[in-house]
C-alpha cells in the first residue's frame, strides 16, 4: 500500500474511524489493535516478512530488558552485542548478501571459483526498522531511556505503519512516551495532519511523479542525449528525489498526527543550504542525526584530533551511502559527501571566520555539488555514472528537449522554498497569526515535528485553497506513478 494509492487512503480512513469511535476503554487493547493494523499494512507488501519484523521487535525488547535488569558490564555488553549482531546480521543478509557474493566472485574470478548467489528478496523498509530498533537497545545500554514496560508497546513502536517503510527514523525516546496518551484523532490533529498529508501528496504526485518519466528516460539511455540534456536530467532527479522523499516524510508525519502521534521532521528546506554541512542538517535529518549519534560519535567523533575527525566524517558518510543500497554507486555517493563534509570542516577550522564565501556563491556551489552527487545515486552502474559525467562536461551532441515538468517542478520547489522560509520567519518580516489567518492558514507549532501550517477550512479563503488544492491533485497528479524512491532502501 503506497501512501499515494487509493488503497492506503481507504486503510487510513478505516483506522481513523476505528480509533475515532473507540476513544475510551483499555489503552493496552487499543495499542494492540494499532500494532495489528500496522502489521496488516506491512503484510500488504509481503506477508512473508511480517515474521521478520515481529522477530526483531521481540529480540530487541528482550535484549533491552536484560540490559536494563543487570548491572554487570559484561552481561550488558553481551546483550547489546546480541541486539547489534541480530539487527545488522538480518540487514546484512537480506540487503548485502548478493552484493558481497558478486564482489567475492569478482575477486575469485582469477582462481576460477564461482559462488552461485541465491536470490534474496529485500524486505520493504528493512534499513529503516533495523536502525530504529537498534537505536532503542543502544539508548537503553547508554541509560538514556528505560525499556518499554510491555512487548505490546515495543511492537507498536517498531511496526508503527506511518513511518515503517521509509522513515522518518523515529527514536524510542521520542515515540515511547507518546504511547501513554490516548490514541485517536481529534479535529485539530486531523486538520493539521491532513494539511501535511496533502502537502506531501502534492510533492509526490505533482512534482516527483511528473518528473519521473523524463528523468527515467534520460538515465535509461544517456548515450542518446546531449550533454545539456544530461544536466537537465540531473537537476530533474534532484527535484524528483526531494519531492518524492520529502513528500513521503510529510505524508508519514501527517498520517501519524491524524492518529495521535508526532514524528520528528525529516527535511528543513534543504536546497536553501549554503554549504554541505548545512545541507546535511536539512536533508534526511533523522538519518543524519542517527549516523551522528550511533556511528560518528562511537568512532571518536571530533575528540581524537583533526585528521581522525575528517576520517570519521568520511567513514560515516561512506557507510551512510552503503546504507542506502548494496552498490558501489552508493558508496561513491557517500564518499563524495563524506569528502565534501571533511573538506568543509577542514576549511572552517583552518580559515576560521577570515574566509567566508558569500551566500550568492556558496548557495549555487552547494546546490550544483549536491545535484552532481545524485548521478551515482540514480545511475544503475559505474559505467552510466562515468558516461553521464563525460557527456555533461564535454557537452556532447544528442537529443535535447526541455521537459515542462522540470520547468513546473523547479518553479514549484523554488516557490515552496521561498514560502517556507517566509512562514518559518527566516526571511525577515515573517507572517503574524492574523496575516496567516487572512490567507486561510494557521501556524502549528510542534515540539517534535517542528513548525507546520494547517488550512483553516472554516474560512472562505481556507475553503477556497483547500478545494483548489484537492482539485489540482485530482486533475493534474500523475496517475500510476512510480513507488516512493526510498522504498527500495
Amino acid at each position: 500500500m503506497v501512501f499515494s494509492s487509493p488503497r492506503f487512503l481507504i486503510f487510513l480512513y478505516a483506522v481513523l474511524v476505528l480509533f475515532g469511535v473507540w476513544r475510551s476503554g483499555n489503552l493496552r487493547a487499543r495499542k494492540t489493535v494499532l500494532a495489528i493494523a500496522s502489521s496488516l499494512f506491512y503484510a500488504a507488501w509481503d506477508w512473508r516478512y511480517l515474521g521478520l519484523l515481529l522477530a526483531i521487535s521481540v529480540i530487541d525488547q528482550l535484549c533491552a530488558v536484560r540490559i536494563h535488569a543487570t548491572q554487570d558490564p559484561k552481561a550488558r555488553k553481551a546483550w547489546l552485542a546480541a541486539s547489534v549482531v541480530s539487527n545488522l546480521g538480518i540487514l546484512g543478509y537480506f540487503k548485502y548478501c548478493g552484493f558481497f557474493l558478486d564482489n567475492l566472485n569478482g575477486l575469485l574470478h582469477f582462481a576460477d571459483i564461482h559462488v552461485t548467489p541465491w536470490e534474496v528478496l529485500l524486505p520493504a523498509g528493512i534499513s529503516f526498522y533495523t536502525f530504529k530498533s537498534l537505536s532503542y537497545t543502544i539508548d537503553v545500554y547508554r541509560r538514556e531511556i528505560e525499556p518499554c514496560r510491555s512487548q505490546i508497546d515495543y511492537t507498536t513502536f517498531v511496526t508503527f505503519f506511518p513511518e515503517l517503510i521509509a522513515g522518518p527514523i523515529v527514536r524510542a525516546s521520542v515515540f515511547l512516551p507518546q504511547l501513554d496518551r490516548p490514541i485517536g484523532p481529534t479535529r485539530e490533529r486531523v486538520i493539521s495532519g491532513v494539511s501535511l498529508f496533502l502537502l506531501g501528496l502534492t510533492s509526490k504526485v505533482l512534482i516527483a511523479d511528473n518528473l519521473a518519466p523524463a528523468v527515467n528516460a534520460v538515465f535509461k539511455e544517456p548515450a542518446l542525449f546531449s550533454g545539456a540534456q544530461l544536466w537537465l536530467a540531473t537537476l530533474g532527479y534532484g527535484l524528483q528525489i526531494y519531492g518524492d522523499f520529502a513528500g513521503y516524510s510529510a505524508m508519514a508525519i501527517g498520517t501519524a498526527r491524524m492518529i495521535g502521534y508526532d514524528l520528528p521532521k525529516n527535511f528543513d528546506i534543504p536546497y536553501a543550504a549554503t554549504n554541505i554541512t548545512d545541507f546535511w542538517r536539512r536533508w534526511h535529518i533523522t538519518l543524519s542525526t542517527w549516523l551522528r549519534d550511533y556511528l560518528y560519535i562511537p568512532l571518536g567523533g571530533n575528540r581524537q584530533g583533526r585528521a581522525r575527525t575528517y576520517l570519521n566524517l568520511f567513514l560515516t558518510m561512506l557507510l551512510g551511502g552503503l546504507w542506502h543500497g548494496a552498490s558501489w554507486n552508493f558508496v561513491l555517493w557517500g564518499a563524495l559527501h563524506g569528502g565534501a563534509l571533511a573538506a568543509h570542516k577542514a576549511m572552517r577550522e583552518v580559515a576560521g571566520d577570515r574566509f567566508r564565501v558569500p551566500a550568492a556563491i556558496a548557495w549555487p556551489l552547494t546546490f550544483v555539488f549536491v545535484n552532481l552527487c545524485w548521478i551515482p545515486f540514480r545511475a544503475k552502474d559505474f559505467a552510466t555514472t562515468a558516461l553521464f559525467f563525460e557527456r555533461m562536461f564535454t557537452l556532447e551532441h544528442g537529443l535535447f528537449w526541455i521537459p515542462s515538468a522540470l520547468v513546473w517542478g523547479g518553479a514549484l520547489v523554488f516557490v515552496a522554498h521561498v514560502i517556507a522560509l517566509w512562514l518559518s520567519g527566516r526571511i525577515p518580516g515573517g507572517p503574524s497569526p492574523a496575516v496567516l489567518r487572512r490567507i486561510g492558514l494557521e501556524h502549528v507549532p510542534n515540539a517534535i515535528a517542528g513548525w507546520s501550517v494547517k488550512l483553516h477550512p472554516g474560512t472562505a479563503v481556507g475553503a477556497f485553497l483547500g478545494t483548489l488544492w484537492v482539485l489540482v491533485l485530482f486533475y493534474f497528479a500523475r496517475v500510476g506513478g512510480s513507488p516512493f524512491i526510498y522504498f527500495q532502501f
Binding site: I165, A217, I402, T459, Y475, G480, F487
Partner: protein, 344 residues
C-alpha cells in the same frame, strides 16, 4: 441560539461554501485550457469532434484543433482545390490532437503541394483508434463523402495487430481458404456517454474528471497486490505472440482504394518485423509507399526526436511537430512524384 447568532451562523456556513464554489469555477477555467473535448455522435462512424468548438488536448503536446461536421480537421490555409482532394486516413498520429492545425502533416503536405502549383485540398480524416481494418471498412464512405483523387493511409505496426482483429470495431476475419474479409461491429454510444453526455458537453471538469477516474481505475488494477520494494516496476504484459498476416492486410487496403493510395509507415526507433514486411510488400507490389525511416533518422542526427513532447518523453507517444514536418516532406515528395508520372 440567540437572535443575533443566526446571521453569524449563516455567514460561517456560507463563507466556506462560497470559497469552495469559487475554487471549482476557477478549476473549470484551468481545465478547459488543458482539456476541451466536445463530441457528437455519427451513427455511421461513431464519435466525431464537435464542429462548433476547438479541441484542446494538452496532456501530450500543446495542440488545438478544429473539425468540421464530416470529421475533417482544419488545415492552416483554405484552398480553392481546383484539382480536387486528397484524403488522408490514419489513426491518432494523423488526427494529431497534440499539435496545432497548421503543424499536422496533412496540412503541411497541402502547403507543399500548393507551393508546387498543385491546387489540391488535403483532407485530414485521421481518427484515433482506427486500424487497418477500419481503413478497409470505411473505404466506401471515404469515396462517397469526399470523392478523393487519391487516398493516403498512415500506418504503424499496431494498426495490423490486435487493434485490427478485436471485435470492438471493424475487424479482419480470416476465411477457411486463407482469404481476408472485414466485419463491422455495430456502433453504439457507451453507457458513460449516455449517462453523462449533456453534462460532459457543458463542463470540462466533469468530462476530464470522468477520464481521470477511468485512468485511476486502470492504474489501481495495474498495481500488483503484493508490491515488493526489491522487485522494481512490474514487468510489461507479454507481447502478443500471434502472427498477423500483415502482407494480406496491406493488400486489402490497396484493393479497397483500387490502388489509388499511398501507404505511409511511421517507423519506430529500431526496425521491427512489421516494418520489414511493409518494405518487402512495397518492393514486391510497386505500390506507392513512404517510410519515415530515413527522415526520422535524419531528424535524430539533428538532435530532435520525431516522437514526444515537452510534457512527455522523447521517442515515446505520438509524433511532434518535427516528426510531422519530416513525414510531410517525404509524403509531399512522393505525391509530386506520382503527379509527375501522371498517376495523380
Amino acid at each position: 441560539m440567540g437572535e443575533g447568532d443566526t446571521p453569524r451562523g449563516l455567514r460561517r456556513f456560507v463563507a466556506p461554501v462560497l470559497g469552495a464554489v469559487l475554487a471549482v469555477v476557477l478549476m473549470e477555467v484551468v481545465v478547459r485550457d488543458v482539456y476541451t473535448v466536445r463530441t457528437t455522435w455519427d451513427p455511421e462512424i461513431g464519435v466525431l469532434y464537435d464542429p462548433g468548438t476547438p479541441v484542446r488536448w494538452r496532456r501530450e503536446g500543446n495542440g488545438t484543433s478544429h473539425w468540421d461536421a464530416r470529421g475533417v480537421r482544419a488545415n492552416a490555409h483554405a484552398v480553392t482545390a481546383s484539382a480536387g482532394t486528397i484524403v488522408v486516413r490514419g489513426d491518432s498520429f494523423t488526427e494529431a490532437l497534440m499539435v496545432d492545425d497548421g503543424e499536422a502533416f496533412p496540412s503541411l503536405v497541402q502547403d507543399a503541394l500548393q507551393a508546387a502549383a498543385y491546387d489540391v485540398a488535403v483532407l485530414n480524416i485521421g481518427r484515433s483508434t482506427d486500424s487497418a481494418a477500419d481503413h478497409v471498412a470505411h473505404a466506401s464512405r471515404t469515396r462517397r463523402v469526399f470523392a478523393p483523387r487519391w487516398v493516403v493511409v498512415q500506418l504503424r505496426e499496431e494498426d495490423f495487430t490486435a487493434e485490427a482483429w478485436d471485435d470492438t470495431s471493424a475487424r479482419f476475419v480470416s476465411g477457411s481458404d486463407g482469404s481476408l474479409t472485414v466485419a463491422s461491429a455495430p456502433l453504439t454510444p457507451s453507457v458513460v456517454r449516455e449517462a453523462f453526455g449533456p453534462l460532459e458537453r457543458r463542463s470540462m471538469l466533469v468530462a476530464y474528471g470522468l477520464l481521470r477516474v477511468a485512468e485511476m481505475e486502470q492504474a489501481s488494477r495495474d498495481q500488483p497486490p503484493l508490491f515488493r520494494a526489491a522487485d522494481g516496476p512490474p514487468p510489461p504484459p507479454p507481447k502478443d505472440e500471434r502472427v498477423y498476416p500483415i502482407t494480406q492486410e496491406l493488400d486489402a487496403i490497396l484493393k479497397a482504394y483500387e490502388g489509388r493510395v499511398t501507404l505511409v509507415w511511421l517507423t519506430d526507433r529500431e526496425p521491427n518485423g512489421a516494418e520489414r514486411a511493409f518494405d518487402a510488400f512495397c518492393a514486391r507490389t510497386g505500390a506507392s509507399c513512404v517510410s519515415a525511416r530515413r527522415v526520422f533518422d535524419a531528424l535524430r542526427e539533428q538532435g530532435h526526436s520525431p516522437y514526444g513532447f515537452a510534457n512527455t518523453v522523447p521517442e515515446s507517444g505520438h509524433i511532434n511537430k518535427h516528426g510531422h514536418r519530416a513525414v510531410s516532406d517525404a509524403l509531399a515528395a512522393e505525391l509530386l512524384r506520382l503527379r509527375t508520372n501522371g498517376l495523380l
